[in-house]
Symmetry: C2
Subunit: 503 residues, 2 copies
């Protein structure tokens, strides 16, 4: 495929300079329009070594206002980055609304450079491709425009460029042993890239091959492609906005009758533990947790624990019992409040990706990404299409974490309506607890039935083998806390055993 590319295309200097100057002005203006339209843009530069990615990126950004873009050079993952799932360092760099993120090499490393260098296991390729596709699909669904360039030169041209670089003391360090090997085994590396292009050329993230022997030709083709794609996207969005069907109001009651008598209605809330049993169990579990925390640290196992549940169901108390004997250097509690300014202009999963634990650490989330299919759904903070596709998006994220070795636990702390009322009133009467209860809590309570259906649907759609939900009977706080700790202990022990078995 790539060897069929006509690399003889050329542009003379005069034509180039004229066209470039005109394009730069047009691109500058277009960037301001994209910013006004709050359109996030990702531009990926991949290609053969010495094909001129750096030079071409610099040409492109000369046309852009530096207030609106970032350039990320994606080298081999650092030690710090290797301690996270591989998409982590790219998710955290996804552009905010109205901004452009330019990637010099990208998430595609894993299926070509890193694969060639032996850093990627061949058996992990299918999962890597799937992760890449879902990453781009999720961002595209959220409105991000993805433009991908593959800069191609042939073996002979590459050799010539490497020779030129190595000839001078000032530039020879730029050519690595691996670069030379990729030139020697050009065809093998080429096949990996062709496979990548075939597997990941989608309507939401199409590739454009750039014939890169002539730098002027390449520069104009890149600028033109960016210009055309962004203009078209702006045009399409304008049309969609003009012709947008009125947003259908959420018809949860009717449509989800299926989830009316769901999982939650079958939960036995009479479960109890005596004070003595509680004290005894708690002491043993906390001690065991302390040991396990140390073990998962040594074995570099990341752990994600998400807490959801009714207001006043006891999330805070459970989290405190869970952490009270842990080393604070190895865990972090991430409370999830309403999104702040920076979070609001990113994909809704972005802020959770930012807080995912590194290997050996525990990240506890007090409320989680499931807000999308509960509060955001019910309050209409997102569209119906958005929360409906969130189930899959969330499953994909959790599956990615799991594949990176993460233990994932999700708790739904369940109480009944009477118990909630009792606790709300208790909070109101206790001066030390009054701050915990707000008008919003009472408003949420009024929507109990809607929430119950949403929770039932969530439990069904996102209970996976790799990230199961645990519903915790919460009317008795003792019982609930012990169940949470026990579940965490069990899940850690299980994974530790698996890891040790693997060696």
């Amino acid at each position: 495929m790539l060897d069929k590319i006509d690399l003889s295309k050329k542009v003379d200097k005069k034509t180039y300079e004229e066209k470039r100057d005109a394009l730069q002005i047009k691109l500058g203006a277009l960037q301001r329009e994209c910013k006004a339209a709050e359109m996030p843009v990702m531009i990926v530069f991949e290609g053969m070594g010495a094909a001129g990615k750096g030079v071409q990126i610099n040409h492109l950004i000369q046309a852009l206002d530096p207030r609106g873009f970032d350039v990320y050079a994606c080298n081999r993952a650092t030690e710090e980055e290797q301690m996270r799932p591989f998409l982590w360092r790219f998710w955290t760099k996804t552009p905010a609304k109205g901004r452009i993120a330019i990637f010099d090499r990208s998430w595609y490393r894993i299926v070509q450079v890193d694969r060639f260098d032996g850093l990627t296991d061949e058996k992990d390729l299918p999962a890597a491709y799937q992760d890449i596709l879902s990453f781009e699909k999720q961002l595209s669904d959220d409105g991000t425009v993805i433009i991908k360039f593959f800069l191609y030169i042939d073996k002979k041209e590459q050799k010539k460029r490497f020779d030129h670089l190595t000839a001078s003391k000032e530039t020879s360090w730029r050519v690595t042993k691996e670069d030379l090997k990729r030139n020697e085994e050009f065809e093998r590396y080429l096949r990996m890239n062709e496979e990548m292009l075939e597997n990941t050329d989608t309507d939401y993230g199409p590739w454009t091959i750039i014939e890169s022997v002539d730098k002027r030709y390449a520069a104009l083709k890149i600028m033109t492609t960016v210009y055309d794609r962004l203009s078209r996207e702006l045009e399409m969005r304008k049309m969609q906005k003009d012709n947008a069907a009125p947003q259908i109001p959420p018809a949860a009651a009717k449509e989800n009758a299926l989830y009316k008598n769901g999982v939650l209605s079958g939960i036995d809330l009479s479960k109890k533990l005596s004070q003595t049993e509680y004290k005894h169990e708690m002491k043993q579990l906390q001690q065991r947790l302390e040991e396990l925390h140390s073990e998962i640290y040594r074995l570099r196992i990341p752990v994600v624990i998400g807490f959801e549940g009714w207001d006043a169901a006891g999330k805070g108390g459970a989290i405190r019992r869970l952490t009270s004997h842990l080393d604070p250097r190895g865990y972090r509690v991430n409370p999830t409040a309403a999104a702040n300014d920076i979070e609001k202009v990113h994909h809704y999963l972005w802020r959770f990706w930012n807080n995912m634990p590194k290997a050996g650490h525990i990240a506890i989330f007090d409320r989680t990404w499931y807000g999308r299919v509960m509060v955001e759904r019910i309050e209409g903070f997102c569209t119906e299409a958005e929360w409906k596709r969130a189930y899959q998006e969330i499953n994909e994220m959790e599956s990615h974490m799991y594949n990176a070795g993460t233990v994932i636990l999700k708790f739904w702390l369940h109480i009944d309506k009477d118990e909630q009322e009792r606790r709300f009133k208790e909070r109101q009467e206790n001066p030390d607890k009054q701050w915990k209860i707000t008008d919003e809590d009472w408003r949420n309570r009024a929507k109990w039935d809607q929430y119950e259906e949403a929770v039932n649907e969530m439990l069904v759609r996102t209970s996976t083998t790799y990230a199961p939900w645990t519903v915790v009977e919460g009317n008795d706080k003792h019982y609930a806390r012990v169940k949470v700790l026990k579940s965490v202990v069990d899940a850690m022990e299980k994974r530790i055993k698996e890891v040790k078995k693997k060696g």
Copy 2:
């Protein structure tokens, strides 16, 4: 000093639990008050190995709302962190208004652990102490409360704890060779710590020694200290607010008559370059810059280039000529707009610290931290006391960068009032440039004289040997651009020569 500490202090379990429970409730309430008062708080935990820093931090945070604090474990600097000035990783972690940052080990590493381990050169100690003091002073002046704990146990107790840890397979990895060495040479390490305590016990950042043999005693003393200090600070701020003298309006005209006919009035704006000279010089300079960029990358020299100047003085054009032949992986243009929500709740220098380059990279700032002594001063966005102390704060920051090997260049692009008017009008008439000119530009222009005085004062107060200002005669764009590039080339060549000489 420390060997005089009475380590026999003890608290029995019952007393402890009673007092702890009461303190936790009080601390929780106090944290909410600190948040409401927008008071940032830093709590530092230092001390002897195995003194129980982790356990004590965990006790403390059990009392706090996780939405309001962060814990940072400051291990030995990573490779990535070593490529920045040593305060960088701490500046970037300073708390926002109303938040608490807890440090498990801290910037004090450099004068004790890292010093003992031979990572800190003895000759760098005086500078390190000065950096630490100015870091804490700057934050304290900005309203941050700094609480510092030193957890002390004696040699025998430490030995006992190490023995206990090493006895079990699960915990032996926690004790390092270096830990054992610090126990063997306890007195030597102790002296380093005593020196640290003496040198850095200030009114704005006082140390509290915690007798840490009895964990319960230590926990109560820590919680009480935090409670007392925060209550007192809140009280003081309330009093200050009530008794605040009315803000004296800026009396720039009178007070700074000294700076009326300053540096700027002596600048010869008739300097020119012909189109031919310009083209010739520019080509050579850009080529040279490309080579030097590669060299500073190899030699790991960080470069900071700040641009200030009148509106329409040609900052953008100069930056474009400077970067057009550079590798985008090695430089970054940081435009400085009005502070966003996150930046607003931090120290004004925080966002610039965040963008300081790592070794081998160039950070270009389009407008800089000098906004504090220009626009913020003139528009009254900060108090007079704040901009007056900013000169020293900025010099301290730049000196810290310089000590870490950074090349610092600062340009003032100068044009006269007539030239600015001509350019404003040209922008208004050119459809491609209209977006560049706003009402604000005209408003700033009306304050030309005030700005001129502020700039003159700034040039005098912050032109240092380590970070000099270069005033660029800007009426002729050709001349200005060539002067900027030449200055950068000269500064890089000079530093490269110095570095190579040192070996």
